[in-house]
């Protein structure tokens, strides 16, 4: 064993490459979760379109959000329903 490795062991210092790997994995994870600026707007538009086939909703009070925690990310979508369309799948208007 080389002297500097022995010294590192004695001082209980971890390998810097392990830090690099950990940082890298975290960076790649957060990179993948990053969302383009127009994505949320487009998603909201599409969701409103789909839900409107089944429910009458207040398009203005829709809330769409991404909640991130250490382990996971979740898409939170919240909309008040005004009424259900009687004939499923067929838009009222």
């Amino acid at each position: 064993m080389k002297f500097n490795m022995l010294l590192k062991k004695l001082m209980n210092k971890g390998d810097s490459k392990d830090i690099a790997k950990k940082r890298l994995k975290f960076a790649l994870l957060t990179d993948k979760l990053e969302i383009r600026t127009d994505t949320m707007g487009n998603l909201q538009k599409d969701l409103v379109e789909v839900i409107s086939r089944y429910f009458e909703i207040d398009k203005e009070s829709i809330k769409i959000d991404i909640q991130r925690s250490e382990e996971s990310s979740a898409l939170i979508f919240n909309t008040p329903i005004i009424a259900a369309h009687r004939q499923r799948g067929i838009p009222a208007a």
Partner: protein, 266 residues
């Protein structure tokens, strides 16, 4: 049969794309293939100096696309290595001078003339990158064992998959001593993070600077470890995919080698 088009790309700049493109081109030509190496970095050309052909440029890739010359007029023949040609980039045009459809047109013609066309992709993910990958059948992603280079490689790999290209990885500038000391990501670490197949490992090699200084192909330098690794990568790219990948190791002294043979850890 039509030749194939391989893009050499990385995302991050300065990881060795141009040196690798030039060397792979030279190695493939020495193996008997007819090779064109194309500088895709419009406005910031460098492949010409790395290949030592900068004095012989008359026409460039933009001239071909704009119909100002024929492919044969722009392709510079290397006089040291048979069957090796360079198509230089334009230094004065803007990178938007070429569009992906132009590259598809050009490479379809190059396929008829050359067994292998290597595209030396510029850094970044803008126009030059888009032009390069639009025309490619295969891709080689270059990265160094650094956080920044690996992260950019990951992004590039994702963009290549989106184009239905499954890239292969070269880990460049490995310093075996630092890897052994735990101060550099090993190629296993890099492969684990990126989860793609390796096509070669290249050790940090001072000869690369010397080769670039003089514009001499690295693969012509016998004592260059990087040059040897690149020759093996060229074989893997063309017909010998199962050639074993050599892991750069610390050159051990005779007594240490003997020690490890006898089972003693050093």
């Amino acid at each position: 049969m039509d030749g194939k088009v391989i893009v050499v790309t990385s995302g991050k700049g300065g990881v060795g794309k141009t040196t690798i493109s030039a060397s792979l081109g030279a190695a493939l030509a020495m193996q008997g293939k007819r090779v064109a190496v194309v500088d895709m970095d419009i406005g910031l050309r460098n492949l010409d100096v790395v290949m030592g052909l900068e004095n012989r440029i008359v026409f460039n890739i933009v001239d071909i696309i704009k119909g100002r010359c024929k492919i044969k007029q722009a392709a510079i023949k290397d006089r040291r290595i048979d069957n090796l040609f360079l198509i230089p980039a334009s230094q004065s045009d803007d990178k938007n001078a070429i569009k992906p459809e132009n590259m598809i047109w050009l490479t379809n013609r190059l396929r008829k003339e050359f067994d292998v066309t290597l595209l030396d992709c510029p850094a970044g993910i803008e126009q030059g990158f888009k032009n390069s990958i639009a025309a490619a059948d295969e891709a080689v992603v270059v990265c160094t064992p650094e956080v920044s280079a690996v992260r950019d490689a990951d992004r590039i790999i994702g963009l290549l998959y989106a184009q239905s290209i499954t890239p292969k990885l070269i880990v460049n500038r490995i310093v075996p001593k630092m890897v052994e000391n735990g101060d550099m990501l090993s190629h296993e670490d890099v492969v684990e993070v990126l989860s793609i197949d390796l096509i070669g490992l290249i050790e940090m090699d001072d000869r690369v600077v010397v080769s670039t200084n003089t514009g001499t192909p690295l693969v012509l330098q016998e004592e260059s470890k990087a040059g040897m690794a690149l020759q093996r990568i060229a074989l893997r790219l063309d017909g010998h995919p199962d050639l074993p990948i050599e892991n750069p190791m610390i050159q051990k002294s005779f007594w240490k080698k003997l020690g490890s043979k006898l089972g003693r850890k050093n």
